[in-house]
């Protein structure tokens, strides 16, 4: 995997929430995605996983801003680009698939129109040629009757079909990277399986990389090559998918895996293994390791200082003084 060329290199990314006092939301985050690779980013609400993806796309809401670090995409420093240069990359070279297809599609425009719009924004083609491409794309995402579908409005489609349209828009310009943020969370489990199968087969056929943001460890196990686990704005563990599930090293990763229902597994006096306590508020992070207050293994060392992210061999990193 590491022999593949580098596509996205994030170094020491800092994102803060502005206010009376700047509150860090993502802290010194570094990771990379190589061409054709499938990276899963896992964590609970507020861990910074979606903020990271919005920072890459330069789509952060006004209250959030990147205050440090570098986002290097295929040799180009994204943080240095002006709005116009960024628009050229966004949608064409990096595309996004969001959770709720109804809100990411425009309800007042036909599906065809929305696909044609993105093609014509990035390529000098005629309307007729773009429409033909739109029909081909709808076929590629396996929507039935693409010639009719192209003139339909989003509300006439099921949730799964809408997400196929969103994927068609995402792949319209053959991007190098697709960022999929909880792409199937709003869908039924059978539809989720279809959409993930579609997304990953397109990803392979078109040679794209995927950054899959999810809280669903089942999806991670099924789809990812490599996994980054985030907690309270930091990376706490990274590993190849097999290593992460076989030998999770960070107590948080272990806790997440144990809390995921796995049929047939029974605990003596409870239904599921829980992680005690709550995710800390970004306004009130504990000193030292942010996970320490919820960690069974925590000692005084853990609250003494924030554990450094260290390497445990190729592709494996952890931020825990105990592991």
């Amino acid at each position: 995997m590491s022999s593949r060329p580098m596509l996205l290199e994030v170094r020491d990314l800092d994102v803060v929430l502005r206010g009376a006092r700047a509150t860090p939301v993502v802290r010194k985050l570094s990771f990379e995605i190589r061409r054709g690779e499938r990276l899963a980013v896992v964590g609970e609400s507020g861990c910074g996983k979606s903020v990271t993806s919005l920072a890459i796309m330069n789509l952060l809401p006004p209250a959030l801003s990147v205050t440090g670090g570098s986002l290097r995409f295929d040799g180009t420093e994204l943080t240095a680009l002006d709005a116009r240069a960024m628009r050229d990359i966004r949608g064409r070279r990096i595309a996004m698939v969001f959770q709720e297809p109804m809100t990411s599609l425009n309800p007042s425009m036909t599906i065809g129109h929305q696909i044609i719009e993105i093609i014509r924004a990035h390529e000098p083609v005629s309307k007729a040629a773009a429409r033909q491409r739109a029909i081909e794309l709808l076929e590629q995402v396996r929507l039935p009757d693409p010639h009719r579908m192209v003139d339909e409005y989003p509300h006439r489609l099921s949730g799964g079909q809408r997400q196929r349209v969103v994927i068609a828009i995402a792949i319209a310009c053959r991007p190098d990277l697709i960022i999929a943020d909880e792409p199937t969370t709003a869908l039924d489990v059978t539809i989720q399986a279809q959409i993930m199968t579609l997304l990953t087969s397109l990803q392979r056929d078109l040679g794209m990389a995927i950054m899959l943001i999810t809280h669903n460890l089942g999806l991670v196990a099924q789809v990812a090559d490599r996994v980054m686990v985030m907690y309270a704005g930091r990376k706490v563990e990274e590993a190849a998918v097999g290593d992460l599930f076989d030998q999770p090293r960070h107590p948080y990763t272990r806790g997440l895996l144990a809390a995921t229902p796995r049929p047939g597994r029974r605990f003596p006096d409870k239904v599921l293994q829980e992680i005690p306590g709550l995710v800390p508020s970004i306004y009130d992070l504990p000193p030292g390791c942010a996970f320490a207050p919820r960690c069974d293994l925590a000692t005084e060392r853990c609250s003494a200082g924030e554990p450094r992210l260290r390497s445990l061999g190729p592709g494996r990193e952890i931020a825990c003084v105990l592991a």
Partner: protein, 266 residues
């Protein structure tokens, strides 16, 4: 043992612009005292309509819903109100199901006020006890829903449902809006409360893996009908209906060595 809840040949339908939709098509289901039955299906299968008909939010077209010996179908509003003591509901999204302008105390105490149970100070005491029991700090009782996290809000919903010591709680996707680690806390709490109070749960969910761990029996619903019902391990390990098989196969297993999805190699 006779069932606590006994549903027979229940039919619910809605009039829409495009005609009558039969959401529940002749469902029969029993829930015994103190047990958990998981009702599993995909969106639009009729599971929520079925749940709502039990608590009187949907009027069935035909069929019967018996709680102990009382027939709930066709019951007057006033007669139903007294039944609230026995049947309570926990909703999916604790944020939209709790009045944002009422404090935790007011929310939890409301069922006690409505049913006029105990004196004012007894109610206050009961609220504090309930908050403590579901893992909320009683000194937070003056806080409003937005001051709690999602998991804490669901605990308020649970305390409120529990206030009248019901025999049955219908839970509609009680943890699907919560983070994984918090999901486990809430499910374990529901299980503890069941042991303590012998309350029965009818748990409506799309999450077959979760219900396999939590429920004694599972009913699988598709297109308005229950297509399969059995103990959790029967349904999981030896599904008889093709739809159940399909549901199980679609669950992404948290095991990269067993990739059941048709995912191409990276």
């Amino acid at each position: 043992m006779s069932p606590l809840l006994s549903i027979r040949d229940l039919v619910c339908s809605f009039k829409t612009a495009r005609g009558v939709v039969r959401a529940v098509r002749g469902v029969s289901l029993d829930v015994f005292p103190g047990e958990t039955v998981g009702l599993v299906g995909e969106s639009g299968c009729g599971k929520t309509t079925l749940a709502k008909s039990i608590v009187g939010l949907v009027q069935p077209v035909s069929g019967s819903i018996r709680l102990d010996t009382t027939e709930l179908v066709g019951l007057s509003r006033t007669a139903r109100a007294s039944l609230a003591r026995d049947v309570q509901f926990i909703f999916q999204d604790p944020f939209s199901s709790l009045n944002p302008r009422r404090t935790a105390e007011a929310l939890i105490r409301e069922p006690l006020d409505v049913q006029r149970i105990g004196t004012a100070s007894e109610r206050t005491e009961r609220v504090e006890w309930l908050m403590h029991r579901v893992g909320l700090r009683p000194d937070w009782k003056r806080r409003y829903p937005h001051e709690f996290s999602g998991g804490q809000r669901q605990r308020i919903g649970i305390a409120r449902a529990l206030a009248l010591s019901p025999k049955l709680i219908v839970c509609d996707e009680p943890v699907s809006a919560l983070d994984v680690s918090v999901q486990a806390q809430v499910i374990n709490l529901l299980a503890d409360l069941q042991r303590e109070f012998n309350v029965a749960y009818l748990m409506i969910t799309h999450d077959l893996a979760l219900v396999e761990a939590f429920a004694r029996r599972i009913a699988v619903m598709s297109l308005g009908e229950i297509v399969e019902i059995g103990t959790s391990s029967e349904v999981w390990n030896a599904p008889k209906h093709p739809f159940t098989r399909q549901l199980i196969d679609a669950i992404p297993l948290p095991d990269p060595a067993r990739r059941s999805y048709a995912i191409p190699k990276g």
